[in-house]
Amino acid sequence: MPDRSFRAEQSVSIKTRARFQGGTWLLRHLHALVFSFGQLVRQPANTILSASVIGIALTLPMSLFVLLDNVKMLTHSWEGGAQLSLYLHQGLADTHQQRLIDELHVMAEIERVLVITPAQALEEYQQLTGFDSLGAALGDENPLPGVLVLFLGDGQSTLETVDELVGELARRPEVELVQSDLQWIERLHTMVDVVQRGIGIVAVLFGFGVLLIIGNTIRMGIQNRHDEIEITKLVGATDAFIRRPFLYSGFWYGLLGAAIAWILVASSFHFLAEPVRELATLYNSEFRLAGASVDSVLTLLGAGASLGLAGSWFAVNRQLRLFNTV
């Protein structure tokens, strides 16, 4: 006689709520995660092909972002040690000027103050232009104002601080005019903003493309497993149970695609590093092309995985509706 423990459980029960025990729940997800990865590993050619398509689609926006990071770094290095020129009013009393200099010394943003007296300015002008006789021609009347050149500290050269400082100093009665050398950097910043937004649009478009690729891959996977899904539903599987491995497949596709994109970006930048170094040397610059930062790699992997999950979510829900009769 076979095992007597084999006895039908007599009552027909309809549990309205699925058992939700934390441990079981986690275990099921873990199981689906590993199971779906195993399925992908068992079809290496298919998996690599699909993941590569995703990877290539992610490579373009990713490399643009890394390039942009490099440009930002380059402009940032130019920002260091910005200068402000303070043109003082003609005939400003020395005591007033000294008081202003003392006050400037106290300000946290300012590292160093260089004083150019009207006499020094005239001398410099004569040297530069070769008008040696200019001083004699002008007599005692020196038309040049006194100038204070302010050197800002390293951390103080952002556009905001400089703008604020310019406004503040321009209001002072001793000062006739404030000039910053940061205007072109401001223009560059605006340009970078425009480019950044453009790259953002490209990233959204390619992200949408990845969503569609993964959705389609999962859709085909579901159609290949039509019979399996039907049987699983007939033995009492919930939609969530059926959805789970497909969701995780999408997750793996996205993550693998992102990893491939990372490899592609890293190798392209490695390939470009030497020529860029040479170019920079020709411009007397120490600039070196930087690869993707840890942050941006993590963002890439996160974005890939999320796109994978989202793409398969749409595909699975759409496809499962077709099974509603079963």
């Binding site: 095992d3 084999f6 459980e9 058992r19 009492g236």
Partner: protein, 218 residues
């Protein structure tokens, strides 16, 4: 255990599959259901497994009116059933063990429990040694027995079988039917669709005949 009260099923295309059917199957009873193709046998099973819903009338299983079961509750209701198909419909990318374990995995049983129950079910159908085999390596009769093990592994109170011997020779068919009879001894209510009248001669169970969607009362 199973009651049909004036049940009709009309398909939008294809007309009436069941017409005013009444059926009563006691708990622990084994019933054969026969009839030519298109007589409504499969429709009856589809109503019981909630693949379809009745157009009119009531289907009551284990005291529960199936029309009251919401879509989201259907999976939980189905865990009370063991369904055997004409072709075994095994998952070819998994071992015999994993195939049989499926209903238990779905119901969220632990690993130990699953192993114990799968082995008990495989023992019951005489395939304990084939746990690690791939379904494709088994004969037709063995595959069907794996399908049966999968249908009863979670000890459902009701087993529904749709032509379970349809693809098998007479000797194997008799073997399979005897297996169902054994489940009945364990308290299972079994509803078995078959058109093999010769085979039914070996058994002393109630036989119901469907013709054109109605029971033909003998």
């Amino acid at each position: 255990m199973i009651h049909f009260q004036n049940v009709s099923k009309r398909y939008e295309r294809g007309g009436d599959a069941l017409k005013n059917v009444n059926l009563h199957v006691e708990s622990g009873e084994m019933v054969f259901l026969t009839g030519h193709s298109g007589a409504g046998k499969s429709t009856l099973l589809r109503l019981l497994s909630l693949v379809e819903r009745a157009t009119r009338g009531q289907v009551i299983v284990g005291g529960k009116n199936l029309s009251e079961i919401k879509r989201s509750q259907i999976p939980h209701y189905r865990r009370n059933l063991g369904i055997v198909f004409q072709s075994p419909r095994l998952l070819t990318d998994r071992t015999v063990f994993d195939n049989v374990a499926l209903p238990l995995v779905i119901a969220g049983h632990g690993h130990k429990e699953i192993t114990r129950r799968v082995r008990a079910a495989l023992d019951l159908v005489g395939l304990l040694g084939k746990e690690r085999a791939q379904p494709i390596a088994l004969s037709g009769g063995e595959q069907q027995r794996v399908g049966i093990a999968r249908a009863v592994v979670h000890r459902p109170p009701i087993v529904l079988a749709d032509e379970p011997t349809g693809n098998l020779d007479p000797v194997l068919s008799l073997e399979i039917m005897t297996l169902f009879e054994r489940f009945q001894q364990f308290g299972v209510t079994a509803l078995i669709v078959t058109h093999d009248l010769e085979l039914l001669g070996h058994f002393a169970h109630r036989i119901l005949s469907l013709r054109d969607g109605m029971f033909k009362h003998a």
